[in-house]
Amino acid sequence: MYKIVEKQQLSDIITKLVIEAPLIAKKRKAGNFVIIRVDENGERIPITIADSDPQKGTVTIIVQAVGKTTKLLCSLNKGDYVLDFVGPLGEPTPIHNYGTVVCIGGGVGTAEVYPIAKALKEAGNNVIGIVGARTKNLIILEDEMRAICNELYITTDDGSYGRKGFVSDQLQDLINSGIKIDAVYAIGPIPMMKVCANVTRPYKIKTYVSLNPIMVDGTGMCGGCRVTVGGKMKFACVDGPEFDAHEVDFDELIMRNRTYVDLEKISDELYEKHVCKLEGVK
């Protein structure tokens, strides 16, 4: 059992949880994730480690409530426990001094790019951040990103905050402005990562994305997380989750992630009904 020692609501649907897991806190590196199972009947889901405090023995995760498991996780409070919490999984991000790196976070992807941006900054890079979301109140970690980025740009699809448009538009502007970009990290919804890859491809700028296929064990045992990279089959949980964006078959990943949409909906509806009932009781 792993205790939640802190909880903070970052937006309506995004929650930060700080969880006691001293071994993971000590070992984790930027780019690692954990697999969580909330309770006995629960699913195993992967969540990136956004931050950690090895002294306190805590790990920070930032979760967007999209379905049954993430909603349940976000409904937990300080003092509650999750049943299983295993990691740090995945290959950590290789951190080099590239020169200038653009770190792009779309939606909850900002939580995943933040630790990488931080590590790249500490390695001496000039880090340019782009944080985007559909609308203003979905922008997360703005202050944290601002604190570590040399420059930070905000975009919203509806123009309610920062530049109106997509993070990829901002990336294109940066490229057009003529500054030399040595690498790009883009993490967010798959279509966003795909567009970012397309933006940098003609300029041959090294671009990395973190893939989020459906996982079960997270240790290389099921093959459910397989993705096609450079025409080869890779297991995202052990070979990734980061890959060269120009080599990734994004369309296949989008399709594969739809495998259970109908069942996920059933699960979600049952959960919502259950929550309503509970609230009725209150």
Partner: protein, 482 residues
């Protein structure tokens, strides 16, 4: 009591058969197919043993159970004595009695089998183990000797569990590290409930805990801590690696990444380990078509296809590129599968999986094969028959074509010799290239059996004991010489 029957009389008794659920019933549930022998049947079966002077059956058992010895105790109705006799050599009798390929091990060499059917050794083993469990007669061995040394066992499959139990009985402090949230390895996530009820595994694991073995789940060695950290920082004196061969192979044919294509591991893990059969009461989903195909001919394939049938597949095909006789699966399982209405497509090889507009599997294209010259394994090699391609309508494809070791530990442990196939290299007593690191089971064999994994775990335990004693002896002589 000794057997009152003359050998000629014993030979006249036919081999006794387990009581089983009918095929019609069992494809609608996940309960165990076989209920085993009851006391009456077990007593008849036990009478068949010839009590050979030279019991070759023992040689056939990888852990050398005193087979005539325990059978004799059954005749005396001392069932607890019998199971304890087995336990001297094998700490997991209820499991082995169920899943051990006895027909290829102890029973194939049984003398009675030369002219008649062999003694049902496995079923007798299961009978006494079940008897003990049902009547709550197990007593935890009292450990009198305590050795102040710590051993880490990585992986809680049959190799790890056995090694841990043996070392704990010798008096060592043993800790098991398991990557998943629960113990048992393939016994839990692979072998289905209808062949090995999880309750039995739970009881066996609990008995190992009662020996004082500590178990950490959710601990991936190589990630949560490396093997060297276990030795240097956690203070373990030796390590046993029993991490199995859990990484699935894929065929490499077009269409493998369509939705509806699973590795048998993923399919069985979702159903057995995550209990997807109870969705939406449980949260992990599984999708199964009306028509499904499983590719492969081993135990894994058989388990996957029978599981799919139980989840409601109307047509369940088993596609195997060689012929029936070459299938590595246990005979009993093949027979059970056949009774359950599984359709066997032998000498058939899939060449392409075809998807619909939503990227879901809609069919599989196969090719007929014929047997050619024998290959390195001595089996006749299947070769494609030109122009024999045909298309089979299916919505789910499950590949069960073998597994290889998970590379995490090998990649994070300097100085550990690994073969080209990814297996950890060991000598004949399970020693690796690192002096205090031992290994066994599927990790070193690359996909074998429960009993061989147990054998390795047991030999490794003895070797770890020898090693730690010699280290101690060297230390002592060093202080004496000072």
């Amino acid at each position: 009591m000794t057997n009152p029957l003359k050998p000629s009389e014993r030979m006249k008794i036919p081999r006794q058969h387990s009581i089983e659920q009918t095929a019609e019933d069992r494809i609608k549930n996940f309960f165990e197919v076989s209920f085993g022998l009851n006391e009456e049947l077990a007593l008849i079966e036990a009478k068949r043993c010839l009590e050979c002077k030279n019991p070759v059956c023992i040689e056939g058992c990888p852990v050398r159970i005193d087979i005539p010895g325990f059978i004799k105790l059954i005749l005396e109705k001392d069932y607890v004595g019998a199971v304890n006799k087995i336990r001297e050599a094998n700490y997991l009798p209820a499991i082995c009695g169920r899943v051990c390929p006895q027909e290829d091990q102890c029973e194939i060499v049984c003398l009675l089998g030369k002219k008649h059917e062999p003694v049902a050794i496995g079923k007798l083993e299961r009978f006494v183990a079940d008897y003990e469990m049902a009547n709550n007669l197990f007593e935890t061995p009292v450990i009198t000797n305590h050795i102040d040394k710590k051993v880490a066992v990585v992986g809680s499959g049959p190799a790890g569990l056995t090694c841990a139990a043996e070392l704990a009985k010798m008096g060592y402090k043993v800790t098991i590290f398991e990557a998943l949230h629960s113990t048992g390895g393939v016994l839990r996530y692979g072998i289905p409930e209808f062949r090995l009820p999880k309750k039995i595994l739970d009881i066996e694991v609990d008995r190992i805990k009662k020996l004082g073995v500590e178990i950490y789940t959710n601990f991936v060695v190589g990630r949560t801590a490396t093997l060297d950290e276990l030795l240097d920082e956690w203070g373990f004196d030796a390590v046993f690696l029993g991490t199995g061969a859990g990484t699935p192979n894929f065929m490499g044919i077009p269409g493998e990444n369509l939705s509806g294509v699973y590795s048998a591991n993923e399919f069985l893990t979702r159903v057995n380990f995550m209990r997807a059969y109870a969705f939406p009461e449980t949260d992990t989903p599984i999708k199964i078509g009306k028509q499904i195909a499983v590719i492969g001919g081993g135990n894994t394939a058989m388990d996957a296809v029978r599981t799919a049938k139980r989840l409601g597949a109307e047509k369940a095909y088993l596609i195997y590129r060689r012929s029936r006789t070459e299938m590595p699966a246990r005979v009993e399982e093949v027979m059970h599968a056949e009774e359950e209405g599984i359709e066997f497509l032998m000498l058939t090889n899939p060449i392409r999986i075809i998807g619909d507009d939503f990227n879901w599997v809609k069919a599989i294209e196969c090719q007929k094969m014929e047997l050619g010259e024998p290959d390195e394994s001595g089996r006749r090699k299947p070769v494609p028959v030109q122009g024999s391609e045909f298309i089979l309508e299916v919505q789910t494809v499950i590949e069960a074509i073998g597994q290889k070791p998970n590379p995490i530990i090998q990649a994070t442990t300097p100085g550990l010799d690994v073969s080209k196939k990814g297996t950890v290299v060991v000598d004949d007593v399970q020693r690796t290239s690192r002096p205090n690191v031992f290994a066994g089971g599927d990790l070193t064999r690359g996909g074998a059996t429960v009993i061989l994994a147990m054998r390795d775990g047991k030999i490794a335990a003895e070797e770890i004991h020898k090693y730690l004693q010699s280290v101690e002896a060297k230390k002592e002589s060093a202080t004496v010489n000072k």
